[in-house]
């Protein structure tokens, strides 16, 4: 991918992701771009709490961040030609996120076929080596004809 191509794709990705109403509602932000790799985060807030007794974030909010980040990584794949949709999403919850902390996600496309992108990712709060959740997913993909 040329520098121009990358810059264009990143600009598109930013515009596209930031236009998603639900991502905006959770105040998600893009933190990093790469070749088929993306980093995103969202702030802690009262309305994403799943356990009112402890203030722990609902798993569904974490999976929304991971799904968005996974989709963005697919969008950033240099051989992709069309917008993507999630086919299958598996989330493993390792531990509760610490109340009050920003939640970060990172995802990468680790394999593609002509029609499918395979993605993995992690969500964490304070340290990347102590994940809150892990993502394994399959997304629709349309590979550029050679």
């Amino acid at each position: 991918m040329s520098d121009d191509d990358r810059a264009r794709r990143e600009k598109l990705a930013r515009r596209f992701t930031e236009a998603l109403p639900f991502s905006k509602a959770l105040d998600m932000r893009i933190d990093s771009f790469g070749v088929a790799v993306a980093g995103m985060s969202m702030p802690y807030s009262g309305f994403i709490v799943g356990d009112p007794g402890t203030g722990i974030v609902h798993g569904g909010a974490v999976s929304a961040l991971l799904d968005t980040c996974g989709g963005l990584a697919v969008f950033l794949h240099p051989e992709g030609t069309a917008p993507t949709a999630t086919l299958d999403l598996r989330i493993d919850y390792m531990r509760p996120a610490k109340p009050g902390h920003r939640i970060h996600a990172w995802a990468e496309v680790y394999n593609t076929t002509r029609t499918v992108a395979f993605v993995r990712g992690i969500a964490y709060d304070t340290a990347r080596d102590q994940p809150v959740a892990m993502l394994t997913g399959a997304f629709t993909f349309a590979k550029k004809a050679l």
Binding site: L20, P52, H58, G60, A61, S63, T86
Partner: protein
Amino acid sequence: MTAQESLKARRDGALDALVRSVPYIQFLGVTFDRRGDELTATLSYNARLIGNPVLPALHGGVTAGFLEITALVELAWHCTRAALEDGRPQAEDIAAGGAFHIPKTIDLTVDYLRPCRPQDCYARAQINRSGRRYASVHVEAWQDNRTRLFAQATGHFLMPPRPPDG
């Protein structure tokens, strides 16, 4: 009020308190409808739930959250029913949402079958196995047609510790 009516009111009150106590359930706009022992979850359409403005379709993360909430409420409700029948949780506990111990999600696998259109969604959960520690739950979600699912999910959950009998 007959004993039967009082039990029904207690059950409806407890379910309502559970759903109202969780901020993320309120944020998504999920409500529950009870017919005997069967719960149906409804996700009322709202423009902020959109994830693909071009199609348009609901965000995949909304679908995942909706299915997880349906499974969790089904499990929490299942645990609470028995206790309500022996009259254990007190009315004030129920009002405070304190009668519930919400299970913890271990994992959730969501199968996206079709785009989720900008309209109301429904879901029902089935507990396939519920042991002392772990439970396995399957959830199905649809819009206009019960047999045309737009998503389904299977998840494993860690059950809350049982309160001592008494």
